[in-house]
Each structure stands twice: as structure tokens, then as C-alpha cells.
Amino acid sequence: MTTTPTGTESATARRAVGTAHPRVEGYEKVTGTARYAGEIPFVDLAHGALVLSTVAHGRIVSVDEAGALRMPGVLAVLHHGNAPRIETEYVGFLGAPDPTTAVFQHDRVPTRGWPVALVVAETPEQAAEAAASLEVTYREEPHDTAFRPDHPDAYYPGSTIVGPPVSERGDQSAALAASAFVVDELYETAEMHHSAMEPHAATARWNGGRLEIVDSNQGTVWVASELAKLFSLDLSAIRVRSEHVGGGFGSKGCRAHQVAAVMATTQLRRPVRVVMTRRQTFSLAGHRAPTAQRVRLGADAGGRLLALDHESLNQTATGYEWVEPAALPARTMYNAQAHRTAHRLVRLNVPSPTAMRAPGEAPGSFALESAMDELAERCGIDPVELRVRNDTQVAPGSGKPFTARRLVGCLREGARRFGWEQRTPRSGSTREGRWLIGTGVACASFSARAMPTTAAITAHPDGTYTVHVNAADIGTGARTALTLVAADELGTDTAHVRVRLGDSDLGPAGIAGGSTGTRSWAWAVNLAARELRERLALGADIPPQGITVRSDTTEAVKALGHHERHSFGAQFAEVAVDPDTGEVRVRRMLGVFAAGQIVNPLTARNQLVGGMTWGISMALHEEAVRDARTGGHYSPDLAGYHVAANADVPRVEAYWIDDPDPEDPVGIKGIGEIGTVGAAAAVTNAVWHATGVRQRSLPVRPDRVLAGGAGPTGA
């Protein structure tokens, strides 16, 4: 079939897409009958508990396997001394595999919280106690886990997953010298953890010569293909299912629990379930690396940028290179004759970082949008106006024009809805009781990409349809969105469409990540539906097995080429700061986004607001603390690692302006991440406006506010 995109025109009038629709799996979710990975019953199930290293660097000297095997119910102890060897020399979806995933292959311990054993027992209680009691001895070696901006071992990596680590054009020092106003500041973001509500869980078993895994992930083919490479199996010999997923945010790919479960089921020949404890997720499930970012801006008297230099340093593991692409936003957002972005790394004895919701853009936009706010202050120009003046229709990084850039529209619409014109420019000028009040703004962008995907749709004789697409609904509402897309293109009611997803047997598909999921899957569904409708229009009878049409967007996605296709947004926040206690409360937040065709306004609003909530959480709460001497986390749990609670999140509103992508058959760009971008900066810029003091390190804890004093009007 043809896979050439034909624009947003559709043979049938859109009815479902763009109309609010409750989640199609909503009944299951509100009644508790939606089953997640650790909840599918298996006969003869055994339970595995991972044992993690308690030293930050060294070698395993011994594992008391015999002692553990004497404990009640214990079936097996897997460790580097007895585990099967697996293949780790391959290039996977995210490059070389994260060595944390390739468990029990050697005696080296590069970080605290490294998986050193799996204890399998008849019951979860027995496994947990045997794992806690397992005696592992180590020979310790010196470690370094202290991330700091001036770390002497920082280096420029050879490449990143998003292109070259450095981009440079023009003469920075000349442009800075010619600038009327200069900002040169260091911004720091904390180590953050995805903390999906459902911890990672997988059950593995062999069934008729195939390896079956019930898992919680962001892409079943992704996980299946990594496992196939690790265990040297044919991809067709593995089936991974992941029907309901309790959040992912970048952490749910191939990880230690699946690999350990496969090893255990292979040895024991019975189903084995491995569930990470909440604490274990802090070292096994990846994290957003802390960053130290220096941003230098130079502008003329009118606030127009002459120089922009954004350099970011992040930590990575000793055996795994992950660049947090925090300087990326500068390649999209603002142009200058001298323009430089750069990324550096420092290898520490820390667990492997990975992508986390809006990788690069979330921490990077905090730094860049904070710096822009400081520039506005120095120039005496309204922060909205400064950003409007520096709008560009050409991407600074590539020099190519944007397919669409409605940033100014977002700023104007946001300012109007937020009531920005009533703002007093001076900081520290508004007080209500014990609270200083301030407002702030920041901009957002996120790239709009697509991944090759296959789909199949079957028309049944009863007039209903089944859509088969290996999507992952990790809470995005993908199942519902794809139902709407299919219904429109098939010219039927949404009630007549069933979507099956989350099963690697459904075939290759993009993952739920990078804001590409719904766009990628909807594209394939749209194409299959379109051809199926044409086929049905010929009037043939539908046989009992139905009529099935397949689609594959591989060629179409390839044909997209490299364009500067992005979503944009403007974030506004109002905060209250108690200068006596350092408490910061966000009072309201408002975002306006130009983010392609919105498929389901009900779930889209929720997802954008959820992203903004992440911004509040990043700005005020989230911080994984590491003890430099032990190399381990301090309180790695949900009492020690604070994510925003309900009381932290006020009225948050998300709006969008018309921005359908002309090259996508449904007009989608993707909205999973854009809501988070810029949100933290909007909050901290508002904190400055309230107090007159810049907060350049996240999170803005009470002690940091108190340390900063309260500016001109403080107590």
C-alpha cells in the first residue's frame, strides 16, 4: 500500500479526533480490574528478589549461596559465579546496552545499588528475607560519586543520541564584548528519578519453546529485541506483553529485573516474577543526571541576543555514557550571531542515568529560560516581550526553517489568559499576609518526531473493527487516542473499534517515548484504516474471519527527512514565598501550547497539566541526595525523594492553539513532554519576582530561600 502522507485532509469528516472522550479502559482502571504486570496469576509461580551491592566500587569476594539455600522456601541463588553468560557487545535502541541490565556477568561492582544476586523462593516473603540475609562480601576500592561543576575529570563526549555534543558558530568573545547587557551564570539541577507509581515488574516463563514475559514497559518490541540480543535468541522466540503500565517516563525499557527473571526461569523451568522494590528503582531504573549549566547571554540595548553560549555538564556512570542533552533547547529557541552549545560528562561511581520525561529540555530549559529572565531584568524589558523580540523562524542549530513555530502566539495567548499585563515589573513588590507574591514566564519547545510502526485493522462481519498496533499506553491515553483516529478514518463510531496493544507479537512499532508514541502509532493506524475503508467501499461481503489490512510507515517516516519540526509553548506561574520560612507555594499555573493536532482534549489537557505538575515538582521538590562517603543515596524512597503531592499542585490550566502538522496524516506532533519544558523556570522566575533573589539551583528548598534572603522587601 502507499505510505505517502497526504496531509491532514481526510475522506471522512473528523468527528472523534478533537472531541473529548473518556479513556476506553477507564472502567477497568476505576474498578481495579485493569491488571498490571505483577498481577497476572501464574500456576507454580516462584518469586525472585534482587540483591544489590552495598559498596560503591570494588569486587565481589564471596556470595553465601549455600547459606541462602538453607533458608525456608529458597529455590535458587543466581550471581556472577553461576549465572549464564550473556551477550553484551551489541548496539541496541539506545546504543550500547546499559551494563546494569546485563546482570551477574562479572565480579566488578561499579556503583552502590548494583545487582549482585537474585534469590528465588516459593513466596515473596521468603525471597525478601533470604535476599536481605544473603551474605555478600566485597573488596572495596576508592570511589567518587560527588558531582560538582568544576570536576577535573569532565570531558567532551564523542557523540550523543541527539547529534554532535558541540555546536558552534560566530565569535563569542567579540559578540559579548559588543553586547550592552550580559548574563553569565551557573545553573544546577538535581539528580531526579522517574518514580513511576508502578515499580518495575516482570514474570518470565518458557512456554512451548518460546520465552514469554509479562512486563511493564514502554515498548514490548524494544524489550524483546534487547532480550533477544542479550540471550542470543531469535526475536521470534520471545513474546513480551505489557497491557497496562503504571507510568514509565523513560525508565521502563530493558532492565535488570527482566534479565534476572529470564535467567531464573531458564534454570528453574517454572514461571519467575521479579519485582523491584521502590528503593531498588533508585539504582536500577535509571535517573535524570544532575547538571551544572553555564549560560552566557549577550544582548544589544534592545534586548536582542548577540551571543548565546550554553554549556552543560552531567554525571554519567563509569561504564555507561549518557549525555543529558541540556543545551539542546538553545539550538531551537533563540538565535544569535555567536551561538554555541556544548555538553560535557564526568564519569562517577553512580548508577546509569537515562532519559527521563523531556530529557535535555527539562533541565536545559530551566537554565536557558532562567538566563533569559535575568537578561530581561537587566535590559529592563518585560520578559514576555524579550522572548518575542528574540523569536526566530530559523533554527539556530541547523539554520533550517521551522515547519511551524507559533511560539509568539503561545506567549501572547498565555499572557492574555494569565493577566500578565497587570504585572508590576519590580520584584518583591507584592505582599499578601506572610506571603510575597510573584509571577514568572518561560518558553518551551520539544521536537516532533515519528518512529516506524506497523499496524493491522480487521473489519468484522458484525460491523466492528479490531485495531492491532503494538503501542504502549503508559498513561498517555494512547489506547483511546488510537480508537478515535481509527474511528474517524473508518467512518464508524468509536464504540465499534477495539484497540489491541502492548504485545510484541503485534509486530514492530515505535515506543512510548520522546513524545513520538501517539504520532507514530496513529500514522500506521490511519493508513491501515484508510485502505481498509477503500477496500470495504467496494462492497464485498466480509468473511467470518474478517478482512484485515496492514500498514507499515517505515518508508513514510524515512521520507520525512530532517526538518525542524517542534512543538512550542509558553508557561506562566504565580507563586507565594514566605520569607520567614522559605516555603514556596505555586498558586496557579497556565500553559499555552502549539503542539500539533490534539486528538483527545480530555486526556491531552490532563497530560499537559501533568507535565506542568512535573515542572512544579522539579522546581520545588525533587532531589536524590547522595552521601559522598558511602556513595549511596540518602533515603531513596518516596518519603525521602519528594515528588509533588496533591497539596503542592494548585489550579493548573493548559490551553492550545491551532497547529496541525501538515506532514502527519492526523496532524499530530506529540504532547508527552512539552508540558514539562520550561515549567520549572516559570516557577523559579516567579520566585525571583516575589523575592528579588534568583534561585539558580534546583530544587528551591526552604533552606535555599532563607540563605538567599528575601531581597529588597524581605524580613
Partner: protein
């Protein structure tokens, strides 16, 4: 002293009695999930730090992960599966979460819903909260403002960040309950006349 580390117990869950032999270490949460196949109650942290395992015990919301099953014998336990009859109409709180999209991934949802059911009852019973300006009884009942809902629902973390919709859903369900009460009161008055 030699004591048994397991017991034969009966758990009263959603109006049904379940006879079980439990390892004393088995939490109420694990008994529900692993033994009774009631997996609606979720394990988000297993340490009372997230609220995903919220169930009602003797009508009050509690976290099931910090209770041992053996200690729950003799108590009436209601899980999310017990809020609405099977195949019947949803509980108004469930319906509000569904209609107003009070969730995303759904993993915290059963806990949120069980918590919300209790929050509405607690508020109706006149319980103050940390968001209540004046806790003294003379101050009268506070209304269930969004701020009150946020504070009262703060024991249920939602990492997807669906709090705004959750608050809207709880508010709607609370309004419906209040309207029902007014209606019931009005019809009682009518009957009295």
C-alpha cells in the same frame, strides 16, 4: 519460646469471608493481591509513602502495606473491587474519576478512589484537616474547597500528575453526595408534612 509463625485466619473482604493460612509476615496488601487475587489494591512503595494500597478497614481509609494480614482478622475490609457491585453502576467517585479523567496510568487510581470515598465521609462527619483555618468546633464545618480536597488527598501520590483532575473528580462526587443528602432531607420533610 516456640511460637507459630503462621496462622489460620478469616478475612472479611468486600462482604465475603475468606479462610486463609498466612505467614505472619504477609501484609494485608500481599494477602489481597497474592492470595485473594484482588489486585486492585496496588503496591507503589510498600512503606506507607504513596497511598496506592489504600483500602477501607472498618470504614476508614488505611494503607494495606503497613498492616499484617493476621492483624486484620475480624475487621471489615473494603477494597476498590468492593465499591460497586460487579457489573452494576459505578460508585459515584469511580464515575467521577472516569468522566473527568482523574488518572493517567491508573496505578494510583484505586488508592485515590478509596481515599476519596473516605475523604468525602470524613468531611461530612465534620473532620477538620490541616487546611482548615480554625479547627475549633465552634467555627462550624468548613466547606470542601479545592484546597481542602488537595490537603486531604495528599496521602495519595500520583506521579503522572493528574492531581488537578483528581480534585475535580472528588469535588463532583462530594457535590453529588451533598445534593443527594439535601434531596433525601427534602423528601423526608415532605413525608413529614
Amino acid at each position: 519460646m516456640q511460637t507459630s509463625t503462621s496462622s489460620e485466619i478469616t478475612l472479611d473482604v468486600n462482604g465475603e469471608e475468606h479462610a486463609l493460612s498466612v505467614d505472619h509476615r504477609t501484609t494485608l496488601l500481599d494477602a489481597l493481591r497474592e492470595r485473594l487475587d484482588l489486585t486492585g489494591s496496588k503496591k507503589g512503595c510498600d512503606h506507607g509513602q504513596c497511598g496506592a494500597c489504600t483500602v477501607l478497614v472498618d470504614g476508614r481509609r488505611t494503607v494495606a502495606c503497613l498492616q499484617f494480614a493476621v492483624a486484620a482478622e475480624g475487621r471489615e475490609i473494603t477494597t476498590v473491587e468492593g465499591l460497586a457491585p460487579e457489573g452494576g453502576a459505578l460508585h459515584p467517585v469511580q464515575q467521577a474519576f472516569l468522566d473527568l479523567d482523574g488518572y493517567q496510568c491508573g496505578y494510583c487510581t484505586p488508592g485515590q478512589i478509596c481515599s476519596a470515598v473516605a475523604v468525602i465521609e470524613e468531611h461530612a462527619a465534620g473532620w477538620p484537616s490541616a487546611a482548615t483555618d480554625d479547627v475549633r468546633p465552634e467555627s462550624g464545618a468548613s466547606s470542601l474547597t479545592p484546597e481542602e480536597i488537595r490537603e486531604r488527598m495528599s496521602g495519595n501520590l500520583c506521579r503522572c500528575g493528574a492531581y488537578v483532575s483528581i480534585v475535580e473528580a472528588v469535588a463532583r462526587a462530594a457535590d453529588e453526595r451533598a445534593a443527594d443528602e439535601r434531596g433525601a432531607a427534602a423528601s423526608t420533610e415532605e413525608a413529614a408534612v
